[in-house]
């Protein structure tokens, strides 16, 4: 009559995580290297420009380090870190100073598109494609920048990060129904603005 002991997967069995909790900076540096691309990508998609994404990425890691001692391992470390990142980015958006970042970049930063083919493994577009993409990017990013911060974040998490509604609801601490409504509303507004912007130049001409 012997029972079999089954130990469930422990979320906090990462040795780097354990060492980082005890104050090992090198171990925390390894954690940063492991997760930095996804954290940075999430911040970049939400904020829309490199400098703000860089700031939020670093801030998220700093906050994560400070909160490591209270990370209880109930969730996956990256999920926890991702949540910190999204909330930090959301705070940054609500802070106002970054609100206009996306709005401005349509004209100022779109010229640099495709200039760094080595980054993130993206193939460099050819010149014609680049020119077309510049116009598309400007319009889409302009439309996204006009969305409110909650709508923008929810749309990015669902469309770009491709997270399920349930996980988005957990990250943003809102009901799943609200997630669905926000995504639909964001798409509706984007559609409206993109179609308006498409029609307007024709009328003007």
């Amino acid at each position: 009559m012997l029972g079999h002991l089954i130990v469930r997967e422990m979320a906090d069995e990462d040795p780097d995580l354990d060492r980082a909790r005890e104050g090992d900076r090198d171990a925390f540096g390894r954690l940063v290297r492991r997760h930095q691309r996804r954290v940075y990508a999430a911040a970049l998609h939400i904020l829309g420009n490199h400098s703000d994404a860089d700031d939020v990425t670093q801030e998220s890691f700093v906050r994560a380090y400070r909160g490591l001692s209270s990370f209880d391992g109930r969730a996956d470390f990256f999920t926890w870190l991702y949540r910190i990142t999204v909330n930090t980015a959301l705070n940054a958006l609500r802070g106002g100073k970054r609100g206009a970042a996306l709005q401005q970049r349509g004209q100022t930063e779109s010229d640099h598109i495709g200039g760094r083919p080595e980054s993130l493994g993206q193939a460099a577009p050819d010149p014609a494609q680049k020119a077309q993409l510049t116009g598309e990017l400007a319009r889409v990013l302009d439309a996204v920048s006009q969305l409110s911060a909650p709508l923008r974040v929810t749309l990015v998490l669902a469309t770009i990060e491709e997270l399920p509604h349930k996980q988005i609801a957990e990250i943003l601490e809102i009901p799943e129904g609200t997630v669905a409504w926000r995504i639909n509303e964001a798409r509706r507004l984007l559609k409206l603005r993109l179609s308006t912007e498409t029609v307007q130049p024709a009328v003007a001409k």
Binding site: E22, S69, S70, G114, S119, L120, R187, K191
Partner: protein, 474 residues
């Protein structure tokens, strides 16, 4: 034609891919180091104790805050008390006793009205508290400028005002300047000007001989000396707008009192001259007759106060009045009376400062606060040993659970199943909460009891929750 949902998603993805492609090359190679550097900087800022930083950048936690060790409320009270104490001590300036603050407060208003020319009166002077806050040293030029302005205003006032608003202790008929001999022969209440005594070199004041004479008059009577202090302080405030005047006032007050006593002792032999030249103090009628009190200028020897000396119970007689001589201020100026505290005159009764609030000793029945804390079981944080372990690792958890594995495995009662255990472990290492599901009630309570007996190493931080499963079978 409006774009479809898929089109919009595609466009958005394409735009974001382009955004991704804009990431500077080599960015991710340097990001860890930059993050660690930022972390280092933020940790230094946090440890340096900037409140704003600690408030604005609260760590994101999903457990109990790390620095909160107990919930008795004393934590907050202590923090509040410490904050208040530091705030009050930062407001406190210098070492001036309360009597000087009262003096300053009483003089500032009157000097507003007389120390400035007419147009300047329309501009309100800063309040005393503001003046005191200006104690930080300003640049030399500003101070010199303020001195010049004050001197000018004073000279102008002297020219324009005939009577003694600026002249303290001067009768209307008395000339402004008197020779030293005349002062000694006729009256000790010679005309005194603040600059004659305190600032002899100030432009617009009398010559050196006059200064000497007036100074002699000032120290010849403590009444005059005390009365000097008030305008002097007011003048310093009006001129320099700093609390340096208070310090000068303290020094001047002490010097004047000491000099008055010294001169009194020196000239006491010539008692008849002093007695004839000193008018009776104006505030004398209100004094109780039981204690024969004299002004410092005519201070009697201790043997002349037999009632105080032989009084068995000095408290009802108020021996303080024998030591503290209240000098009435000039009614025209409207200042508060200046108290001159004279040292023990040798009659065996120590002077008592009347204005100081008496500190009540703790009563017999009152328990000590520290004792109360101790009785309530509260322990100071400093008493707690700091644990090196910051969290409970998986290995620690397994070890602890292994200790009760045998007992848990003995909970099989014939029905096979997986007992899912969720447990929360307090930082002390004790199991604080256990939930068992997936098996029958009897097995669940058995497993719960077994798990509650598990112990883990203590750590610094918040409680941690873990999941654990037992397959109960034959």
């Amino acid at each position: 034609m409006p774009a479809s949902t898929d089109d919009i998603d595609d466009k958005l993805r394409a735009a974001m891919k382009v955004l991704d492609a804009e990431t500077p090359s080599g960015y991710f190679e340097v990001l860890p180091n930059r993050t660690l550097a930022r972390l280092e900087g933020s940790m230094q800022m946090t440890t340096s104790g900037t409140d704003s930083d600690s408030n604005s950048e609260l760590p994101i936690t999903n457990g109990t805050p790390e620095d909160r060790k107990e919930d008795s409320g004393l934590h907050d009270i202590r923090n509040l008390a410490a904050a208040s104490r530091s705030r009050m001590s930062s407001r406190r300036i210098g070492t001036s006793p309360p009597v000087d603050e009262d003096l300053l407060a009483s003089t500032s208003g009157s000097w507003k009205s007389i120390a400035l020319p007419e147009p300047a009166r329309m501009v309100s002077l800063p309040e005393l508290s503001e003046l005191l806050e200006l104690s930080a040293p300003t640049d030399l030029k500003a101070q010199q400028k303020a001195d010049k302005l004050a001197a000018k205003a004073e000279a102008k006032l002297r020219r324009s005002r005939p009577s003694g608003e600026m002249i303290v202790e001067m009768s209307a008929a008395t000339p402004v300047v008197q020779p030293v001999k005349a002062v000694a022969a006729s009256t000790v209440e010679a005309p005194l000007h603040i600059d004659d005594v305190i600032m002899p070199g100030t432009p617009g004041t009398s010559g050196s001989g006059t200064a000497k004479g007036t100074t002699t008059a000032a120290i010849g009577t403590a009444k005059g000396a005390a009365a000097i202090v008030t305008p002097m302080i007011g003048s310093r405030i009006a001129a320099k707008k700093s609390n340096r005047g208070a310090l000068y006032a303290m020094v001047g007050l002490g010097l004047a009192a000491a000099a008055g006593i010294a001169v009194y002792v020196g000239t006491r032999d010539d008692k008849t001259q002093v007695a004839t030249s000193t008018p009776p103090p104006a505030a004398e009628p209100s004094r109780p007759t039981a204690a024969p009190i004299v002004a410092p200028s005519v201070v009697e020897e201790p043997k002349e106060e037999p009632k105080v000396a032989v009084e068995p119970d000095p408290v009802p007689v108020e021996p303080t009045t024998a030591k503290t001589v209240k000098q009435p201020a000039k009614p025209t100026v409207g200042k508060k009376p200046v108290k001159i505290e004279v040292a023990d005159l040798g009659n065996g009764v120590k002077p008592v400062k009347k204005d100081e609030p008496k500190k009540e000793p703790p009563k017999e029945g009152d328990p000590d606060f520290e004792q109360l804390l101790k009785d309530s079981g509260y322990q100071k944080n400093s008493d707690k040993p700091k644990l090196e372990k910051k969290s409970l690792s998986g290995g620690d958890f397994k070890t602890g659970m292994a200790g009760v594995a045998g007992r848990a495995q003995g909970c099989y009662k014939g029905a096979q199943g997986t007992a899912s255990v969720k447990l929360t472990i307090a930082p002390s290492g004790a199991v604080s909460k256990v939930t068992v599901s997936g098996v029958g009630a009897a097995e669940a309570s058995c497993v719960e009891a077994a798990v509650r007996g598990a112990t883990f190493p203590a750590w610094e931080g918040g409680p941690q929750s873990f999941g654990y499963s037992y397959l109960l079978s034959e």
